[in-house]
């Protein structure tokens, strides 16, 4: 006579190694991969922080994405310790994982002991449909989408670069978009500033952008700053944002922004454009170089023309702005290799990209120091600052 299901489970539980929640808690994050083998609805109601979700029904097909090294230590858990024991048996007996254990008592015992549980942000039915193409990407998935929905991104300018960036970040579901711009929409902007329309000419850019974003995605909260960024307001405005998208059109503000973001440890996705040429890099404080490491001093005014005076191919800020938006999504979701310590040059007429290395300057006047030591007075200042600003008018 065949054994009962309960008997099979009892036998398998005798064969697999078990581990107490206390030991799991102690070793969290120490190179042990913790896998939750429950169903999606159970995972959504709360799971152990740092765990990865591989439902038991998909164990054989997906476990290698979670742990590719078959000698690496793996701990499985479920609700009470039964399904994880069966899954552990599968991993060790059928898939050749050498160091697999099942957590005794599952997440029920874990909770009873008072250990921490993380409740993920659950997407609504409408959000699951809206962001469906993200959810299909294993690199993003529900977890990445939840990060995007929880992210706060500040756009400096709703102009050529800010327009496409704002639209795509809104479409991607970035939950909070701050927009700093004190300008009104002008007819001459519409050749490239695609977030604005003929109908919004003459209205503040922050209002025009807010309306376009609201029409595209009601999940996004827009915070408007109809001001010019300066030393008196920068710390207050940028504080609390996860990523800043820089498309500002002048050097004093770029240096000011750099110094404020180094102080506050906020990454800046920076782009600049001129004519048919664009530059792009991420300045991530203390992980990579800052803007001052790359350009310790600005060029004299005659070598620093602005787009207003020199013209720009209308599509170019679109190209560069979308590269910025891509880097923002990567930073927020933690995927890929962000453009930190690298400068990407794009030349539209020859359709060529050039990548250059950017090193941290060990003597950088700003990012080589303890951020707490940087004073308000020195922010945004560079040698010959007064002369530069006088020449630039």
């Amino acid at each position: 006579m065949s054994p009962s299901g309960a008997e099979v489970i009892r036998q398998i539980k005798q064969q697999v190694q078990e581990v107490d929640p206390a030991e799991v808690s102690e070793h969290l994050g120490n190179g042990v991969t913790l896998i939750d083998v429950r169903e999606s609805e159970e995972w959504d109601r709360g799971h152990i922080p740092g765990a990865v979700h591989v439902p038991r029904g998909y164990l054989e097909s997906r476990v290698e994405t979670a742990v590719s090294d078959r000698d690496a230590p793996v701990v499985l858990y479920c609700a009470s310790g039964q399904r994880s024991a069966l899954a552990a048996h599968t991993l060790s007996e059928l898939l050749g994982y050498a160091d697999v254990r099942s957590m005794t008592g599952g997440i029920t015992l874990w909770k009873d002991r008072g250990y921490k549980v993380e409740v993920p942000k659950v997407l609504t039915t409408e959000q699951k449909e809206r962001y469906g193409r993200h959810l299909l990407l294993p690199e993003i998935g529900a977890e990445g989408q939840a990060k995007l929905l929880g992210a706060k991104v500040l756009l400096l300018g709703a102009g050529g670069l800010g327009s496409p960036t704002a639209l795509y970040l809104a479409a991607a579901g970035v939950g909070t978009l701050g927009i700093v711009d004190d300008d009104d929409v002008d007819l001459s902007n519409l050749q490239r500033q695609v977030i604005h329309t003929t109908r919004t000419v003459g209205t503040p850019k922050v209002d025009s952008a807010e309306a376009a974003i609201a029409a595209l995605n009601p999940d996004v909260e827009v915070v408007k700053y109809p001001v010019r960024l300066d030393a008196s307001n920068i710390m207050e405005i940028v504080q609390g944002y996860d990523v800043i998208v820089d498309g500002v059109d002048n050097f004093p503000t770029r240096y000011l922004l750099n110094d404020a973001t180094v102080r506050l440890d906020i990454p800046v996705v920076s782009a600049s454009i001129l004519g048919f040429d664009g530059q792009l890099s991420i300045f991530k404080p203390h992980d990579g170089p800052c803007y001052r490491c790359l350009y310790p001093v600005p060029p004299p005014a005659e070598l620093a023309p602005s787009c207003g005076a020199n013209g720009v191919l209308g599509v170019l800020p679109g190209t560069m702005g979308l590269l910025q938006a891509t880097e923002v999504v990567k930073l927020v979701t933690g995927i890929g290799e962000p453009l930190v310590g690298r400068l990407l040059l794009y030349e539209a007429l020859s359709a060529s990209f050039t990548e250059l290395k950017v090193r941290r300057d060990p003597n950088c006047p700003i990012c080589s120091r303890d951020p707490a030591e940087i004073t308000d007075e020195e922010m945004g200042v560079f040698p010959d600052y007064e002369a530069f600003c006088a020449a630039a008018g």
């Binding site: 670069l161 498309g247 070598l303």
Partner: protein, 92 residues
């Protein structure tokens, strides 16, 4: 001969070209050769003391010459120099 990529702001000084070639055994010699061919570039590249202006970055292939041997960095046949002053332009 090395290939030199010219940034937008310097193109008017080299007859509108995006790339020019110049000879020389090291970065300093190649840039001096460029400045001889196109005198308008000299004051933009070099300060009064002959050193590279601090607001101009020069890369040999993909590496900043300042982390190599500066103007003394050897330049081989087929190397590419990129001249890169900072650009401020957003597009308001």
């Amino acid at each position: 001969m090395a290939l030199i990529k010219i940034p937008p702001v310097l193109r008017s000084s080299v007859g509108g070209e995006k790339e020019v070639t110049a000879g020389g055994g090291d970065v300093g010699a190649v840039l001096s050769s460029l400045a001889s061919q196109h005198p308008d570039t000299r004051s933009q590249l070099f300060g009064a003391d002959g050193s590279l202006n601090r607001y101009v970055n020069v890369y040999l292939n993909d590496e900043d010459v300042r982390v190599l041997d500066g103007l003394d960095t050897a330049v081989g046949e087929g190397d590419v120099l990129v001249i890169l002053p900072a650009m401020a332009g957003g597009a308001r």
